[in-house]
Symmetry: C2
């Protein structure tokens, strides 16, 4: 089987992505909520009606698209209408996924701005709009990658037991698919590990340090209430759209 | 005294920047050296003769300049000719530094590409050019901020003891200034703490994890051989250019 579809290899990758997500959240947690940066048009007309975070995200995706980021099956842009790559194709890994258009970045962004940021940041405004927006883009990209990795998980599970999945797909049984892909033992292990990592990474090294960091319980909540459920939504959406006979 | 010049407040800020630098280095250390991304022109003519890292760095700085990053006294661009800000001025902290043009980013970038990357990454090429370049830009920006923070350190030290610094500045006594700003006790504490943090952040949480991480001794070396010496160079250059009577 394609190495990218080995469940063990996928799990290693997901574990490594936890660091990326937690580091990005810890960076963002230094600053206050700064709600101005999420309000379209709040920072003048030169941002084209975007919020500051939206502006930075779109501009970043424009550069990354030119660098061929979004031809990789594990990357999904938040914006459409991005430019064509100007880099030659570099990697030749076969794409192990079935053709699909699943992309729930709009929901990821809404959840992030309305639930995650207020959970990790102190209320209020510290004027650190640029630094906060840069951290937001890192968080959004890291969470999007983790959530859409569900496609690899789903394809791997399908190929391991097609006889279980094909009938559920044919019946468009969303609920049945959700039950079939759910592994509560693995989920609990992920949540415990994320909490433990956040505790380790967020520890203060000097007593005089006053910079806020990331509460381990909040880190766990972000996985429990947002990242894992959205990842499972991607798995189900991917399977529902998959040809059960291919 | 301006809060930005209180030595304790500066030290807290420098301590917090250690996390940003270490997290960025750990992200980069996932990938191989990928020397192709540092070679100007290696990836086609559409990058305008730049290396991939140079292209991404310049494009990123172009966006950040529009967001007014480089009007902040603690931020220094690697590129010149960047566009004017399109954001209104947001922060009104007084700039506590004397006017100066000290910017050693060219050296920071050369050191980073030729010494830091080979120290933290495994040799070879894994094709992860985009991810490596994105991590490089984060590393370069974080290191540049830390190194140029020497300006605040130097201004703070000058104001605390102008009678010691003014004669050295008038005599253009570079060696004397270097000795005067050096505090080996503080330096040793920084190096010990950085090694300890790298050990904590780089620890592996699952035995099957095979992704390379950051060697604590390498993290210490990067501070000892690069970040601290470059920070001290900035302090001396800033003081040499400073009006000793102002």
């Amino acid at each position: 089987m394609n190495r990218q579809l080995l469940l063990e290899s996928i799990r290693d990758n997901l574990v490594r992505q936890e660091e990326t997500i937690l580091f990005a959240l810890i960076e963002r947690a230094q600053f206050r909520v700064n709600s101005t940066i999420y309000r379209p048009g709040a920072l003048g007309e030169l941002l084209g009606g975007e919020s500051l975070v939206g502006y930075l995200l779109r501009e970043t995706e424009t550069i990354h698209a030119r660098m061929r980021r979004y031809t990789s099956p594990d990357e999904h842009p938040f914006y459409t209408g991005l430019p064509e790559p100007i880099l030659p194709a570099l990697r030749f890994d076969e794409n192990p996924l079935r053709p699909n258009t699943v992309n729930i970045n709009a929901d990821i962004r809404r959840n992030y701005e309305t639930a995650v940021v207020p959970a990790i940041c102190e209320d209020g405004d510290d004027g650190q709009y640029g630094s906060s927006s840069v951290a937001d883009v890192s968080c959004l990209q890291a969470i999007s990658r983790r959530v859409h990795f569900g496609k690899f998980v789903a394809e791997s599970k399908f190929r391991a037991r097609p006889e279980l999945f094909a009938p559920l797909i044919r019946a468009a049984d969303e609920q049945g698919l959700m039950e079939r892909i759910t592994d509560t033992v693995v989920e609990r292990a992920v949540l415990d590990r994320v909490r433990e990592k956040a505790r380790t990474y967020g520890q203060e090294f000097l007593s005089q340090r006053t910079a806020p960091t990331l509460d381990p319980e909040v880190a766990r909540m972000i996985y429990a209430d947002h990242i894992i459920p959205m990842n499972k939504r991607v798995q189900v959406a991917y399977l529902l759209a998959r040809d059960p006979d291919a």
